[in-house]
């Protein structure tokens, strides 16, 4: 058979094999000589069995004859099928069901005893029958219990128990619920029989594995549990998972029960309502109130007196649904109830971390929550669709994102106040508000769709959400068209901005100190600062130890600075127009400068007009008016001031930045500078009599005032003073910030700096001080154009003054 002249190669299973009949290939045998063998496949049998005589005989017989011969089959031990008593043993009345047989789960668990009576038992039972009433089944049951009771004993007495400990008579009495005499008889019989039987159990069972592992090779032990050392961990995990699932299941089921109860209640109420309506209709019918006059009368009457009856659940629920639909954008309130409830559960988990504040107790089951489910059944509910539509729209917008309102259990939600709402810091004094300057309309930019919104004011809505009220102005298209990325928009890159400023100043210092200040540069700065705008941002959690936090905080300062001209906005109606912003000019020429000045004067005029208009119109804002007036008129002067201020502050900054440059870690030390600056600046503004708010306050409404010397200006407080409070310290009268943690040395250094700075700064203060009195005498705010510069320049200046004061004091 071995005619292989070629290496055996595996057959390519994907290659088509033509099928021939042998008679079609008369020349096949010629090719047989160069036959290529295909590797033999294993038969899959055990090797040594493969060689067994009868198998081989059968195989060869089959190959020879093409089929098995009867005498060539593999012989097997005989089996007979002529049990005489078979017919009587098994009942022959079974009809085949028409359908395929389907076993119901648990239907196989019959309560029949496993023990089967043998002839010996039968004799015993028959004997016993003469004395007392006992049946075969009853006897089997008793033996069964005794046996299984013993089995338990064995389990209890742990692994070592090889000889099964049979139950005692006492235990037997507990196990069996027969009369004592019968128990005694059966127990004695059972004990005797059990003793005689070597196997231990009267119910033959397949030997089970012993837990000590000694039964590994016992051939009579079968059906061992598939537990392997490897698997324990997995199993435990499974157990855990299934335990959790069970818990979840229990929770879900209990919820289902609650829901069902509530549905029951709802339906009862509905039935009641129906009956009442029916009653009303009947009454009206009997009264012949077909036109509804009586009804209307009664209703009117009812409306007058406080309704005695509590609001009917339905109206009640409607109300809540309103709020739900209005507020809860996340939830899509359509479809059947079940879905809604499911959503509700999902939702609950979510807001938890966010709303960590007031929980009015864990177990308070709010009636409102109940009412939420108290919808009339969905089929007769016209509202659901109505509202689902709107909620879908709102969901798409999803304006609040994570800050979206979510109903919380344990909270009481009041209905909207119908009366005059006022007293908000942002509302006009005419409306009873404070007209806080922090909430003026200002140029606002969004971070996420990166664009300028135009004029907007910020206010705090319910739950501390920050709302932006937008104001229309003629320049809206211009605002909207503002390119955030243009160089004239430096504040746009917040992280960059402060560093840019410092680099500016530091690089400039060299030039400035030697030569006269480059006006263009300054003006560019001014211009840049005029673009300051507000940019709402989500407040990062206040974490003083988090360096990231510092870095994110820093830029925020930049956003909060509002353009000078919006000062009036707070009082003025939304229609206040602002002069167009000068076109962004990367390179400033003198021509441009002149143009700009012209523009500025033009602007001034406009503003003046505006102010006068407002003075006529707005009566209350007396105090602030001069301010704003001055601030407008001051514009050119302010530019000059800023220029001079820049000089001094640049130098100061240079000094500082040098010092800070060697700081322990860049971010922290740098922010330390800024913090210090701002701190002092705010302090300055507090010193100034007419403490006009120089900053819009940080988005987080809860700014803790840590600086005690700030007195009046707590509102002005900058974030940086508030947040990282722990690390801050007040040195003398001057507000100084020592950097939080790494800080022993650092703060020392700062202290040193404070000591050194003043001396050098005192000289500088010669020019610097000049503008300040000017400003103060003008009894205006320092609210001039180059706000940013102001913020950054002034502080050192003021810190100087502060320091001088401090030095005087000490």
């Amino acid at each position: 058979m071995s005619k292989l002249s070629f290496r055996a190669r595996a057959l390519d299973a994907s290659k088509p094999l033509p099928v021939f009949r042998c008679e079609d290939l008369p020349d096949l045998h010629e090719y047989a000589s160069i036959n290529r063998a295909v590797p033999q496949m294993p038969t899959g049998m055990e090797k040594e069995e493969e060689s067994e005589h009868h198998l081989q005989r059968a195989i060869s017989a089959q190959q020879v004859y093409g089929e098995k011969r009867d005498n060539m089959v593999i012989p097997v031990p005989e089996a007979e099928s002529n049990i005489a008593y078979y017919e009587s043993l098994y009942p022959g009345d079974f009809r085949m069901p028409k359908q395929l047989i389907h076993i119901q789960p648990f239907s196989l668990d019959t309560e029949q005893p496993d023990y089967d009576l043998d002839s010996e038992d039968e004799a015993f039972v028959n004997k016993l029958k003469k004395k007392m009433d006992v049946g075969a089944l009853q006897f089997e049951e008793m033996i069964d219990r005794l046996e299984k009771g013993s089995g338990q004993q064995m389990l209890l007495s742990k692994v070592t128990c090889i000889t099964l400990k049979p139950v005692s008579l006492q235990e037997a009495k507990l196990l069996l619920k027969e009369d004592d005499e019968l128990i005694k008889e059966v127990f004695d019989y059972w004990s005797r029989k059990r003793k005689a039987c070597q196997s231990g159990s009267l119910i033959p069972v397949v030997k089970q594995e012993k837990r000590d592992g000694s039964s590994t090779s016992d051939p009579y032990v079968a059906f061992r549990r598939r537990t392997e050392k490897m698997q324990t961990r997995k199993n435990r995990k499974n157990d855990e998972a299934s335990y959790e699932k069970m818990l979840k299941l229990r929770r879900d089921l209990s919820r289902a029960v609650t829901i069902l109860e509530m549905i029951k209640r709802r339906e009862k109420s509905k039935r009641e309502l129906l009956h009442l309506t029916l009653e009303i209709v009947e009454k009206r019918n009997s009264m012949a109130d077909f036109g509804g006059e009586v009804m209307a009368e009664v209703l009117a009457q009812r409306a007058l007196e406080k309704p005695v009856i509590p609001l009917i659940p339905i109206t009640n629920s409607n109300q809540y649904r309103h709020t739900e639909h209005d507020r809860d954008y996340k939830i899509k309130m359509d479809k059947p109830e079940v879905v809604r409830q499911k959503r509700k559960y999902e939702k609950k988990a979510k807001p938890l971390p966010l709303a960590g504040s007031v929980h009015s107790g864990p177990a308070v089951f709010n009636t409102k929550d109940l009412n939420q489910y108290d919808f009339p059944s969905s089929d007769d509910e016209p509202f659901s669709q109505m509202f689902s539509g709107s909620s879908e729209v709102e969901e798409e917008n999803d304006p609040d994102g994570v800050f979206g309102f979510r109903r919380r259990t344990g909270c009481q939600y009041q209905a909207v106040r119908s009366g005059l709402v006022g007293g908000w810091p942002w509302s006009d004094p005419a409306e009873g508000g404070v007209a806080d300057v922090r909430y003026r309309y200002s140029l606002t930019m969004l971070t996420v769709p990166r664009r300028c919104l135009g004029l907007a004011r910020r206010r705090v809505g319910r739950g501390g959400r920050v709302l932006l009220d937008r104001a229309h102005s003629e320049w809206d298209n211009v605002y909207h068209g503002l390119d955030p990325d243009s160089p004239a928009f430096p504040s746009l890159s917040p992280t960059q901005q402060p560093s840019m400023d410092t680099s500016h100043t530091s690089t400039d210092t060299s030039a400035h100190s030697s030569t006269s200040p480059d006006l263009t540069q300054i003006l560019l700065n001014i211009k840049a600062c005029r673009w300051r705008h507000f940019k709402p941002r989500t407040a990062p959690p206040d974490d003083p130890d988090n360096p990231e936090h510092w870095s994110t905080r820093r830029p925020r300062r930049g956003f909060l600075i509002r353009p000078i001209s919006t000062l009036q906005k707070q009082r003025g109606p939304a229609s206040y127009t602002r002069p167009p912003a000068p076109p962004p000019a990367p390179a400033f020429t003198t021509e441009q400068y002149q143009q700009h000045q012209e523009q500025l004067t033009l602007m001034q005029k406009q503003q003046l007009e505006q102010v006068q208009l407002q003075q006529q119109a707005g009566s209350t804002a007396v105090t602030n008016n001069p301010q704003s007036l001055v601030s407008k008129t001051i514009d050119v002067a302010s530019a000059q001031f800023a220029a001079s201020a820049l000089l001094t502050s640049d130098q100061l900054m240079a000094l500082k930045s040098k010092e800070e440059g060697v700081g322990v870690n860049g971010v922290v030390s740098a922010s330390g500078v800024y913090k210090g600056l701002h701190h002092t600046s705010s302090a300055v503004s507090s010193i100034l009599p007419t403490a006009s708010p120089t900053f819009t306050s940080s988005p987080s409404p809860a700014v803790a005032t840590t600086t005690t010397n700030n007195g009046t200006s707590s509102a002005n407080h900058h974030v940086s003073t508030a947040g990282p409070a722990p690390g801050q310290a007040l040195v003398g009268g001057a507000v100084r910030v020592s950097v939080p943690s790494p800080a022993g040395t650092l703060s020392v250094r700062q202290l040193q700096r404070q000591l050194t700075v003043p001396t050098s700064a005192l000289k500088l203060a010669a020019n610097a001080n000049r503008p300040i009195p000017k400003v103060t005498t003008g009894s205006t705010t320092l609210d001039m154009g180059p706000r940013e510069n102001h913020d950054q320049e002034k502080p050192p200046l003021n810190s100087l003054t502060d320091n001088t004061v401090a030095m005087e004091v000490t």
């Binding site: 099928v19 038969t43 055990e46 040594e48 098994y90 070597q198 059906f223 061992r224 598939r226």
Partner: protein, 547 residues
């Protein structure tokens, strides 16, 4: 491997025939003619008045092993077990693999352990006189020396007739395989070189199993720590009684079977109207093994010690069909699906019964990962079990059948093929190809080959030539159509000798003999599965927690 020579010496000198002896034994063949095949004495028992010998006919399947009276023994040709000059290597393994020095050291250690434990073993070893009835488990276990031995030298003269399967994966014992061929007739010397445990078949250890064993052998703890002396019958060198693999239903590694499992323990099983003579050992409760007849309830397969008990049981058992869902019915033939986890009692009872007829089936582990498909035939008494196959819920090796059995009374009537066909129909529904778990038994091999042959020939002969060209088909296509695994298709084509190399390519040729034989066979094959009657939706067991 231990030799029983020490036992021989200790045994009563008057008893000449002991375990391990070989001699021709009279048996009737199928033509009812007398034969004197060589047999090996596996056990001896005394019943009043005479002795009985349990013999295994060399190169006959174990199922033909039987108790014989002394008059059937040809004492003139008695061969005593030979003492090994050279202590045989454990499991015969090192023969097939190069032994490293390390291993040799280990080996010698093993030998030391063995020789050390030998004397005590000799004492506890039951003498041939022991009565089977009185043999407690402990002594039996001790007697059991499950030393995997080298293959009994193949006296099989037909060993050369069939193509040798010398595939590398089977090469572990190829040395032994070849040698017997050479030394067939030189009984004594050959056997001395290739010692053989009495009646013991060398087990085909898969490569990995072998590795495990070698590792254990090399583990110094094994023999000392884990083996209380005299307690365990495992070879002392086998070390930790290692549990067999957890997947599958068949054992290919037989390191755990011993003399107990090599002998039938049940004389007779009564199942419904049938009395079955078990073929192999089955771990029914030991107290039931001494009964002349073990009674099974025909429907729930509960084992009962007496007819009285069966009668009592039948008053309580109201099952008239296997306790599962009927997923197929055509005519009187039905298939029931039983989940080995949900219906443990029935599954275990079925396995115990099946073990009586399946040599390699293992009942080591529980039935949880298996589904049981029980084929029944209906009559007015109920749905009578004809056969069954089990199937792993999730098979990593493409097995679509774990164990498969037609009960002896129904054998050779086409039911086996029906079972096989059904198993492939399930695979077709699942959209998988499948193969039966290995090793196959002799009958299993024949049945499967027959089914594969008929299935493939059916396809080949029905191939229509398209546009006048020669019809052609790929192995993969056959495999997809039939759900028969590719390897099985190829082996069948080889077995039928259909593959030929002709003019530069492989072709399939259908000879007249094949065609005629096939047509004849198909005429006889009237029992077929009708896929339309199958109501089966495969479940994705991987998504369920634990089966």
């Amino acid at each position: 491997m231990r030799w029983r020579c020490s036992v021989t010496k200790m045994a009563d000198s008057s008893v000449e025939i002991i375990e391990g002896c070989r001699l021709p034994v009279l048996r009737k063949n199928q033509e009812n003619e007398d034969e004197w095949p060589l047999a090996e004495i596996l056990s001896v028992k005394d019943i009043p008045g005479r002795k009985l010998y349990y013999v295994h006919y060399i190169d006959f399947n174990k199922r033909l092993d039987e108790w014989v009276t002394p008059d059937r023994l040809d004492l003139k040709k008695l061969q005593f077990p030979k003492k090994e000059a050279k202590t045989p290597t454990k499991n015969g393994l090192p023969g097939s693999r190069p032994s490293s020095p390390e291993r040799d050291v280990r080996k010698s250690l093993d030998l030391n352990v063995q020789s050390a434990s030998a004397p005590s073993r000799g004492k506890t070893l039951p003498t041939p006189k022991r009565k089977a009835e009185s043999v407690s488990l402990a002594t039996q276990v001790t007697a059991a020396t499950p030393v995997p031995s080298l293959p009994s030298s193949a006296e099989a003269s037909q060993a050369s007739v069939y193509p040798a399967m010398r595939d590398t994966s089977f090469s572990i014992k190829s040395r032994e395989e070849h040698e017997p061929l050479a030394s067939l007739t030189t009984n004594g010397t050959a056997r001395r070189l290739i010692p053989s445990q009495p009646g013991r078949k060398r087990k085909n250890c898969g490569g990995t199993d072998e590795m495990v064993k070698v590792f254990q052998n090399n583990n110094p703890r094994c023999s000392t720590v884990y083996l209380p002396p005299g307690e365990d019958s495992q070879d002392s060198s086998d070390g930790i009684p290692s549990a067999p693999r957890m997947t599958g239903s068949l054992v290919s590694d037989r390191s755990h079977d011993d003399i107990v499992t090599r002998m039938k323990n049940i004389d007779c099983i009564e199942l419904g109207r049938h009395r079955l003579k078990p073929w192999y050992f089955s771990p029914y409760p030991q107290e039931l093994t001494t009964l002349p007849i073990l009674y099974l309830c025909e429907f729930c397969l509960k084992y009962l010690k007496s007819l009285k008990c069966l009668q009592r049981h039948l008053t309580k058992c109201n099952l008239r069909h296997p306790p599962g869902n009927e997923i197929y019915r055509k005519g009187t033939i039905s298939f029931f699906e039983i989940d080995g986890r949900k219906n443990k009692t029935y599954s275990q009872n079925l396995c115990l019964l099946a073990k009586c007829f399946l040599d390699h089936k293992t009942l080591y582990y529980d039935t949880d990962p298996f589904l049981f498909y029980v084929m029944t035939e209906y009559d007015s008494k109920g749905f009578h079990i004809v056969g069954y196959f089990s199937k792993e819920k999730e098979s990593t090796e493409d097995y679509n059948v774990a164990c498969i059995l037609t009960l002896p009374p129904y054998q050779r009537r086409g039911y086996g093929k029906l079972l096989i066909e059904f198993s492939y129909e399930l695979s077709k529904v699942e959209g998988k190809t499948g193969t039966p778990e290995k090793p196959l038994s002799d009958l299993g091999l024949l049945s499967y080959r027959s089914y594969w042959s008929q299935t493939i020939l059916e396809i080949l002969m029905n191939l229509k030539s398209e546009n006048g060209e020669r019809p052609q088909i790929t192995i993969n296509e056959i495999s997809e159509i039939t759900s028969v695994k590719k390897e099985d298709v190829i082996s069948t084509l080889q077995y039928l000798n259909l593959i030929n190399y002709y003019k530069g390519q492989y072709i399939l040729t259908l000879s007249e003999d094949i065609v005629e034989g096939h047509e004849r066979a198909m005429q006889k094959r009237h029992l077929r599965i009708d896929p339309k009657c199958l109501h089966f939706t495969p479940k994705d067991w991987s998504k369920r927690g634990k089966w």
